[in-house]
Every structure is written in C-alpha cells, then in structure tokens.
C-alpha cells in the first residue's frame, strides 16, 4: 500500500513548515501513511478517536464534533494546516466533522502545551495537518465508498511532478471530495431513545503547487471546503441548518535561510432554522504574513544549534450582525524565537520564546523549555527520556469578546502552565518483531479559564481555574514474516481534569469534580493480520463514564466500540485497485452523543479506490 518504489523529487530538504523540529521534550505522534490510507474516506474524528487518546465530543453522525485533548475544552486544541492555525476565529475551535482525511497528506498529533511554537489555542495539544510534495510522474486516484444509511463518499486525486529543462521542478496535487450522509436509519429509536434525523453534505477541493529550483522553493496551497448540515430535514418548521464554508490559501517562498509566507482564509458560517430566508451569517477574513530566518551553528564541543527567529502578522475582519459592531477588525502580531540545541548525540534541548500582541488583549509572554536524553541507543534498543515545561495562552475568541449581549470585551486571555515527563522505548528482535512503548505523565494548570457562566445568564467570564493531569501509555508490536505480517497497538489514557476555584455559593457543588464530557479512562486497541495483500484489522475503542452535568448528577454510560476491516489490493502494471470492507460498531453497542441522542448501531461500508500511475521517472 505504501508507495515504496518511487523517487522523491527532493529528499534532502525538509519541505514546508516543520514545527516538530523544535518540539523536543514534547510528545509528538506521527500518524503513519498506512493508517491515513485506511481512513481515506472518513473524517479525522474517526482517525483520532481510534489512534489517539483525544476525546471527540460528537453531536451525532456528520454533526458538530469538537475535541477534548488531555482534559481541556474544545477551545484548547490548535489545528494547523501547513503551519497556519485554521481554528474558526469566531468560535476559537474547529468542527472536526468538517475535516475529511482526504483533505491532507500528513498528520501529526502533538500532546500538551506548545504555545511557544504554535501560538494561541495550543493548550491541550495541537493537530498538525500538512501537504506533501508529490513524487515524480503522474498518479490518478479515484474512489468511492458506499455505506449503510444511504451514505456515500467520492474522491478523485491527481498528483503530478516533473522537472523542466531549466532545472525547475514542478509538482502538484489536485484533489476533490464529496460526501453525502443521508443517515436514513432503518430504525427510529435505540434503547427507547429517538434517533434525531440529520443529513450532511460535504465537498471540497485541495490544490497544492510546488516550484523548486536549487535554493528556491515556492509553493501555493488552496483548500476549499463546504459543509452543510441539516437537522430534522423533513420538518419544514423545525429543521435546522448549519453551513461552514472555508476558503484557505497560502503562498510560501523559501530561499536559503529565509522563509516568507502569506495567507488568506475566509470562513463563512450560516445558520438558520425553519425557513431559510433569514440566515444568521458570519464572515471572517484573516490575512496574514509571516517571515522567519533560520540560523545554524556547529560547534566542536558544544554540538549543533539551530535557531529560527521570526514574526507573524494577521489582520482579522469579521462581518456579523450579532456582534456589537457590524464589522469587527483586529490585528494580531507574534514574535518568536525557537532554538534547538543538539548538545551531544544523546542530549537535545529546545528553548522557545513567543510574545503575541492582540489589539487590546495582550497575552502573556510564553517561554518553554524541553529536553530529551537517550538513555539507551543501540541497533536493537533505544530508550529516551523527555521532559518539557512551558506556558501557554489562549486569545479569547471573537464571540467571547464581541457578541452583543453575552460577550465580554474586558475578558483576559487564558494562561496555562504545562509540565510533563515521558519515556519512549523501542526494541527490535531478530528483524521480525519490533516493540514500541511509551509513558507520559503531565500536569497542566489553566488559570482564567473562560466560562460562559450558566449562573450569570451565560455571560463570558474568566471564572475558572482548571487543573488537568494524567498519564498516557502506548504499547505497540509489529511482526514481519515476509508473507505474513501482524501487529497491535494499544493506547490508554487516564485523564483527571477538575475545576478548582469557588466563585459562587453553588460552585462548591462542582469544585474538584471531573469536568463534564471528559472520561477518566479512555483507550483504543488496534490489531491487524496481513497475508500477502489481504489485511484484516480490528479497531477497538473504550470510553468510560462521562458526566453530563458539572455536579455529576447525570452521566452517560461508558461504552466499547469495535470495528472490523478487511482490505486487499490488486495490481496490474501500475494500476492498483484497493478494496475495503468495513463493519462499524460490530457489537451494535449503544452509545450517546454529547447531547444524549443515540448514535447509530452496526453499519457497513464498502470502498474501492483505483489508482493509475506512470512508471518511475528518472529526473
């Protein structure tokens, strides 16, 4: 399945924004291409909940899905697309149901605060989406997935790369996807709870273009998405429409040590109920520019120091009638200095500094310090200890500040302090078995936590102090016997996240209690067996009880979800056909969305992806 025999156009240079390079001491999980391939017709929500301890807070299939990363809220996860934060500035979060796996080429999940590197929102962690420069030649892929409930997905991708006579290399990717979730369940209720009808239509276009010549690298990236959700579509007076359209574009130019990036994002949110003639309509434009310079020094005794220094400027314009002013504008500037010091072959240190400036809301100065030390490093074994300490911040969202009656223009940015320590080990025995294991403990204290205070009519206040702490473990094994392959991976997370400040008489009913919608225990287990081109995978996800009220008076039961996949690939002279059959929720488990509605039971999906590829080019 992995493209093993192609030639990279430019294998030496790390192309694009690589924040991971300065994340020493932090836990970064790169999702491998095989996993991305397996989820190519699905949303990122499925991928994350089956491969990471991130909790997805879902309102139903195809409906709003936000994340709780390491016990934090939906506003505390930065989502970066080629290094650019794409969280909706009005809401300060991303609806993960609007991000299909087909929309990006690579995915890394970074755990814990990384505000010094990433900026605002990176309090609980960050999701790094990226584009990859295609290989030489021409590749065409077209695929379709057909699911139960009359749901289906289509996608087409063309990748191309060629070198011109004047040493310019041109490459690109054009992709389009279209998803139709009709959710026609053959039942109206599960466990005596009514299934809420909804339909989601999603489409998008991705365009990446790369031009490189010697030291010059120029790239342009576009990602247009359109997500249309309707709840109760059959009831004319009670139907509810939510549309999210995002136009994202970016231009990067890198020459030697300098990198310049410009970007423009337009997010359009529409909402209406009943008759759609009166849409609630919000448009936000973000125009940004970023410049950075890389430095590198090699010392004979002191190792190697890399520094990246730069600044970023973004201008925000929001048109929304529910705000105090019909047009709201603001400027945000960031200055950052990232360093990576490879002191010895075993010892790596990063010191990162960032100061953000926001019109009227200057966030705190955010430094961080991270270090990694290789305790064992041989051909068959490695063991690394890593640790990080850092401050984080979150600039209040536009809604939190400018919403007509509820917003609070005097709100302060949130201020977090994250500490963590972890061990990562690897062991390869007789070239057949490879084992990985890691354990991480963290403590994240977030002060001035912004709260739409339900006891003050949902007025926005810097009320709470939340302490999130936990332990994450991962154990993996892969066996390779040439024809037979097998593997398993287990993630388990213990998350304790509590509100610690008493701010009114009745807050004592909540203090010290686990935040609602965050399970104390969560985990997943993936198992696969492969014989030649036939692969069977079992995916298991476990989530413990989640409280639905802050005082724990109500809760949703824990649940176990199990999926089973069978896949195979046929090859004829550069043409490949990948067939996947999947049973979702194989045990027909009952589980509920965040608002208590039942999620669907067992369902089936069948997908076919045909890929045509020219023979390997020599450049």
């Amino acid at each position: 399945m992995a493209q093993k025999d192609s030639i990279h156009l430019n294998p030496v240079t790390v192309y694009g924004y690589a924040p991971e390079r300065f994340m020493s001491g932090l836990k970064v999980q790169k999702i491998d291409s095989a996993a991305l391939e397996q989820f190519r017709f699905r949303n990122i929500t499925d991928l994350l909940s089956l491969n990471t301890p991130i909790i997805i807070k879902n309102y139903g299939p195809g409906q709003l899905a936000t994340v709780a990363f390491r016990g934090t809220s939906a506003n505390h996860t930065a989502v970066l697309w080629n290094g650019l934060n794409i969280n909706l500035p009005t809401l300060g979060q991303t609806d993960f149901s609007t991000i299909p796996v087909a929309g990006f080429d690579q995915l890394s999940v970074q755990y814990g605060s990384s505000a010094s590197i990433v900026g605002t929102d990176a309090v609980g962690g960050s999701i790094l989406l990226g584009s990859t420069m295609p290989q030489a030649g021409l590749q065409i892929m077209i695929g379709r997935q057909q699911e139960s409930f009359r749901n289906s997905q289509m996608q087409a991708t063309i990748k191309y790369g060629t070198s011109l006579s004047n040493k310019w290399i041109i490459a690109g990717k054009t992709a389009a996807y279209d998803s139709r979730m009709n959710n026609h369940y053959p039942y109206t209720e599960r466990n005596k709870k009514i299934m809420i009808p909804s339909e989601t239509f999603q489409k998008g276009i991705v365009q990446d273009l790369y031009f490189t010549k010697n030291k010059h690298q120029l790239s342009a990236h576009f990602w247009l998405t359109d997500n249309q959700l309707t709840n109760n579509p059959e009831i004319f007076t009670g139907r509810e429409f939510t549309g999210i359209k995002s136009y994202r574009s970016m231009l990067r130019y890198q020459v030697e040590n300098w990198t310049v990036r410009t970007s423009w994002i337009r997010d359009i949110l529409n909402h209406a109920s009943g008759d759609y003639s009166k849409l609630d309509h919000a448009v936000t434009d973000r125009i940004g520019a970023r410049i950075e310079r890389a430095f590198e020094w090699k010392f004979t005794n002191l190792g190697n120091i890399q520094i990246q220094a730069g600044g970023e400027f973004t201008h925000y314009i929001t048109h929304f009638t529910d705000y105090e002013k019909p047009v709201t504008t603001e400027n945000r500037e960031d200055l950052f200095l990232l360093t990576r010091w490879q002191a010895t072959s075993k010892f790596l240190v990063s010191v990162n500094l960032r100061q953000a400036f926001v019109t009227g809301f200057n966030p705190p100065f955010t430094p961080s310090l991270g270090a990694e030390y290789q305790l064992i490093q041989t051909n068959v074994k490695s063991l690394k200890i890593r640790s990080s300490i850092g401050r984080s911040y979150r600039v209040p969202t536009l809604n939190e500040r400018y919403w007509k009656s509820l917003g609070n223009p005097d709100i302060r940015p949130e201020d977090g302090f994250n500490k963590e320590v972890g061990l990562e080990g690897k062991h390869i025995s007789n070239n057949i078995n490879a084992f990985t294991a890691s354990v991480t403990a963290y403590h994240n204290r977030i002060n001035n936590w912004i709260y739409w205070n339900p006891s003050r009519n949902f007025h926005v206040e810097n009320l709470q102090l939340v302490v999130a702490r936990g332990i994450e473990t991962q154990i993996g094994w892969k066996g390779n016997w040439t024809i037979w392959k097998a593997g398993s991976n287990l993630n388990y997370a213990f998350t304790k996240s509590t509100q610690e400040k008493v701010y009114d008489a009745y807050a004592s009913d909540k203090v010290g209690k686990q935040l609602s919608h965050i399970p104390l225990h969560s985990g997943n287990i993936n198992l696969f067996v492969q014989y030649k081109q036939i692969r069977f995978t079992n995916q298991l996800q476990c989530v413990s009880k989640r409280y639905t009220l802050d005082d724990h008076a109500q809760f949703s039961q824990g649940y176990i979800l199990e999926n089973f996949l069978a896949e195979t690939t046929f090859n004829w002279h550069g043409t490949a056909a990948s067939l996947q059959g999947r049973v979702n929720n194989i045990n027909n488990s009952f589980y509920q969305s965040i608002n208590g509605n039942p999620m669907p039971g067992r369902s089936f999906a069948l997908s076919l992806l045909i890929s045509l590829k020219t023979d390997n080019h020599t450049l």
């Binding site: 466990n191 709870k193 009514i194 009831i235 009670g238 009943g274 008489a505 009220l549 008076a553 109500q554």
Partner: protein, 362 residues
C-alpha cells in the same frame, strides 16, 4: 433492579386487586401516593429535564423518578405536571422539532402508561379538568423568526389517550387556572399575546377573551371566588362570571422589574411572588414578596425572602413555602422550604432548573 421493581409492582397490584374485593374504598398503593413532585425544566439543549420526588419529611429527593421507575429518561425539558384521576400527565418539550409529548404515568407508581405525541407542539401547562379530561396549553411551532403563532389548548381524553380537540387561543398561551366550570388561559410574557382566554370545560369552547395591555398571567381564584391576574406591573381582580375587572393594584412603580412565579397560599388569601430585574450583564436580581387579597397596595419594600427563585408554591398540607433555586443549567437545583414568616426550614437537592411543584395527598 428493573425486574425486581416490576415484580414488586406486580405483587402490589395483585394484592391490591385481591384486597379491593372486600373493600369498598381502597387507598391507592404505590411509592408515590403522597409527597412533593418537583418539575425540573433541565438544560434545553441537553433534553435532561426530570420530575423529582421527595416525601415531605425527607431531606433527599429522587432526582429523576421516571427514569428510576421506567429505566428510560423523559428526553426533554419538563414544562408541567398534573394528575387526572390516577393518571399523571408530564409535559415533555424536546429541543428537536416533532419530539414533544405528553408522558402519561400512573400517578401512584409513576409507571409509564402512554405517550401522546400528535398535536402536541411546545406544551406549556397542564390542568386536569375531570378524571378523564385534561387541558394542555401549546405554543405551536414557533415561526422561523422566533415569533409566536396563535397557540391552542389541546383537549386530552385520558380514556383513549388522544387529543380530541384543539381550542385556538391568543399567541403564546401559557398558564391555566381551573375554577368550577371554566379554565382561564394566560399568555407568555414575550409571546406578544395580550388576551386572557376563558374556556368552558363542559363545551370545550371559548366563552370569552379579555384583552389586557400586555400578556395576562392568571394567578388563582381567591377565598371570595375572584380571579387574580397579573399583567406587567399591575394586578387585576376579576369577577369570574362577568369577567369585569373589579380592582387594580400596582406592584411598585419600577417597570424595569418583572413580577413572576405567583403562588397562592392554601388560605386563598395570601399571594407570594418574585420581583426581579436583570442588570447590564443580564444577571437577575430581586426579592420575593407577599401580599393579602385585602391589601390596598402591594408591599414591595419589605421582602418575604430577600432572594429570587425560579419557582414558588405553597404546600396545602403544611403551609410551607417551597422555593426553587437554579444555580445554573449545568448542575442540580434545590427546593428550599420556608415557613410563612420567611424563616428558612431546609433545602433539598433536586433536578436541573426546578420551576414548579406538585403536592400529592392521599
């Protein structure tokens, strides 16, 4: 647990049947034959309203009686509860369109008997008219700009568990007061209706409608057989036969304050109410007052209790004032009990957003 409960109920009902063979007037059996029921609206988007129950001598409540007995939740916000004969009618308002219903339970055991879904849209209040008939005010489906269409009173037949008639009212029909052969239907404060609709319970037809300056809120019929109605900061005393306004009283002079949650004491002479206002941050403040039907002016200087509540009622058995406290929509509320002099008795933790009480006697 459910099975066990079912067995107990079966045994109870069998023994009731056997026992009733040689008894002429059986006392109703069940866990909930007497006590206090609390109507908890819940948090609208979470559909987590519930009916709480506690015995009068108890300091702890069963937060969600329906789930406890039937194993499944009511799935909506709870807007009202009343008993007709042995049937309890729970009004369930779900945030999704088309999911509102009347859940009918056995009033003594809370075992589910039936649900009525058809013709129930945004139910607001319920009154039992006879043992077989109840009225339910419904807003109907709101217009897409959130304005209120003409609402209706659904006439529920408890022998067939169907809505047998819809009586049109003004916009946003809300609270009902039942007296002798009439039901007085008020309007919701922000519903843009301003008429008090009078319905004959014998013909299920509108007898009259009385126009006020703003939405009228019927409070109750007093010891002298007069109907009290509040509209804005004014109180009106009406003749229940001629519908003539006999007296008008002002509740202070500050129109920025809103009176609400009126509760008539069992002596039918004292009326309690909450007078509240919201500040620049939309946070509510105010106090709770009382007046007598013979007062010539309403005292709004010395409060009965210096705080506001989301529901108020007086227990006809003991005369204690039950006040509902909603700290927030994300946590449990409380039922706080006061004596008639305003001194605090105790408080009982109930469901989310309590708004009303129902007192059940043997």
């Amino acid at each position: 647990m459910k099975k066990q409960l079912f067995r107990i109920l079966t045994i109870t009902s069998i023994s009731t049947v056997l026992w009733s063979c040689n008894q002429s007037d059986p006392v109703p059996k069940g866990t909930y034959v007497q006590g206090v029921f609390v109507i908890n609206e819940g948090n609208f988007s979470q559909n987590n309203g519930m009916v709480s129950y506690f015995a009068r001598e108890s300091k702890t409540a069963d937060a969600d009686v329906f789930s406890l007995v039937n194993g499944n939740a009511l799935a909506g916000g709870i807007q009202g509860y009343d008993i007709a004969g042995d049937h309890g009618l729970i009004l369930v308002d779900n945030s999704a369109a088309g999911q509102d219903k009347i859940q009918i339970v056995n009033a003594n055991t809370f075992v589910s008997e039936a649900t009525i879904n058809a013709d129930i849209e945004n139910p607001r209040d319920v009154v039992a008219v006879t043992n077989e008939k109840a009225y339910v005010t419904c807003w109907n489906t709101l217009n897409s700009d959130y304005t209120y269409p003409v609402g209706y009173v659904a006439v529920v037949d408890l022998t067939t568990n169907k809505v047998i008639k819809k009586i049109s009212t003004d916009k946003g029909p809300e609270k009902m007061i039942f007296s002798k052969d009439k039901v007085f239907v008020g309007g919701y404060e922000y519903g843009a209706g301003n008429k008090l609709t009078v319905i004959s319970t014998s013909s299920d037809a509108v007898l009259s409608s009385i126009t006020f300056k703003s939405a009228p809120n019927p409070i109750g019929v007093d010891a002298n057989g007069k109907l009290w109605v509040q509209a804005g900061i004014e109180l009106f005393r009406l003749n229940t036969e001629t519908f003539a306004i006999e007296t008008t009283l002002k509740i202070g002079t500050d129109t920025s304050k809103t009176p609400g949650n009126f509760a008539m004491a069992p002596d039918l002479s004292t009326i309690y109410f909450v007078l509240s206002y919201s500040d620049a941050n939309y946070v509510n403040h105010g106090a709770t007052y009382k007046f007598s039907i013979t007062d010539t002016q309403v005292n709004v200087t010395t409060p009965f209790v210096n705080r506001i509540f989301t529901g108020l009622a007086v227990d006809p058995t003991q005369g204690l004032v039950y006040a509902a406290v909603t700290p927030s929509y994300s946590q449990s509320g409380y039922a706080v009990r006061y004596r008639g002099d305003g001194s605090l008795v105790d408080s009982v933790k109930v469901g989310v957003a309590p708004t009303g009480f129902f007192f059940k006697q043997l």
